[in-house]
Symmetry: C2
Subunit: 194 residues, 2 copies
Amino acid sequence: MSTTTRDRLVTATAELMRRQGYSATTVKQVTVAAHAPMGSLYHHFPEGKPQLAASALRTSGAAYIQLLPLLMDPYDDLREAIPAAFAAAAEQIRGSGWMNMCPVGTVAGEIADSEPGLREVTAEVIGSWVESGADYFVRRGLADVDARDLIFAVLAALEGAFILCRTLRSVEPLRAAGRAMAARVEAMVAVSGG
Amino acid sequence: MSTTTRDRLVTATAELMRRQGYSATTVKQVTVAAHAPMGSLYHHFPEGKPQLAASALRTSGAAYIQLLPLLMDPYDDLREAIPAAFAAAAEQIRGSGWMNMCPVGTVAGEIADSEPGLREVTAEVIGSWVESGADYFVRRGLADVDARDLIFAVLAALEGAFILCRTLRSVEPLRAAGRAMAARVEAMVAVSGG
DNA sequence: GTCTATAGGGCGATAGAC
DNA sequence: GTCTATCGCCCTATAGAC
């Protein structure tokens, strides 16, 4: 196996948190999934479960940040790109059997009021999504203020629609959210004349 | 005390799940907060923690359903009402010290892939939000299809923006989401000529 | 319907040989 | 850096008196 023990621990933690959240994920489950003994976990992560979770959230966040540009790049017109990205996410989630795709949003909601250290980590990760997303929208022709406004709305709509789709077992929320975001972009380019 | 033991157990569970989620909330914490002994909990809820959580989610959901009309009724124009409701939610959450307002959305995200019984309960609750919200938008003049489309987008944007606001300690996501929903309504009334 | 006491198991974390 | 064995605690749930 070419992966290090440390990498396997982080990956297993991300995977388990994605499906069960932070509290329901036990360090025992992590060691079993990572084929690593207890002692290795506390060797690499002396502060234990929170430190391991922080690492998994940062890694997942860094991977997830690349997805939005990837989905929107094929479309010349941002008014087309945005609902297409939401529709692609909808098909992805439906095809997976309504599974959670990324632990960051759900874990953020679960621990925001009760785990200050982890809340700061999720804030850092989501903050980096905002920065990179706003930069992308500027590159696609939006003004700085509009780009920032739009990425906040898009991330909120995506995270909320993920929860609704997984709960209701329906792609309708993601599709409706995509149409709403398209309307917002339309309003922006109508004013700036893009 | 005028409340029954059963009611206090349900209220305490809703309150604890709102702040900590489902997995991190223990039945011991519930009995302490409700000033009720262990035996009473298992007398009223023989199936234990999941049954108690289901009751708390249904109660919270029924209370929460009334909030959106309450916030939007004062405004004659739906294009004004929607961003105003998002702005009011933003001030509420800021004023509370960025606390979660309702356990349904966050618990739904936490358990959708791992607790089938509770997932069905959250689906039922959110489904009732969709029904009642769509009815409200129809009463406010939207076509059936538009009303359903809009409530899905609004609920997704609200739930997602709540998580972002609490995590980032900023009202920006809720404000941006409100502006996006306003643009969607604008597009709807422009077509139907409302 | 209320309450105390406790069972039985899994939790996060640690010790210490290798 | 890896691994086994285990600690002490807290978890959900139950038994049984009142």
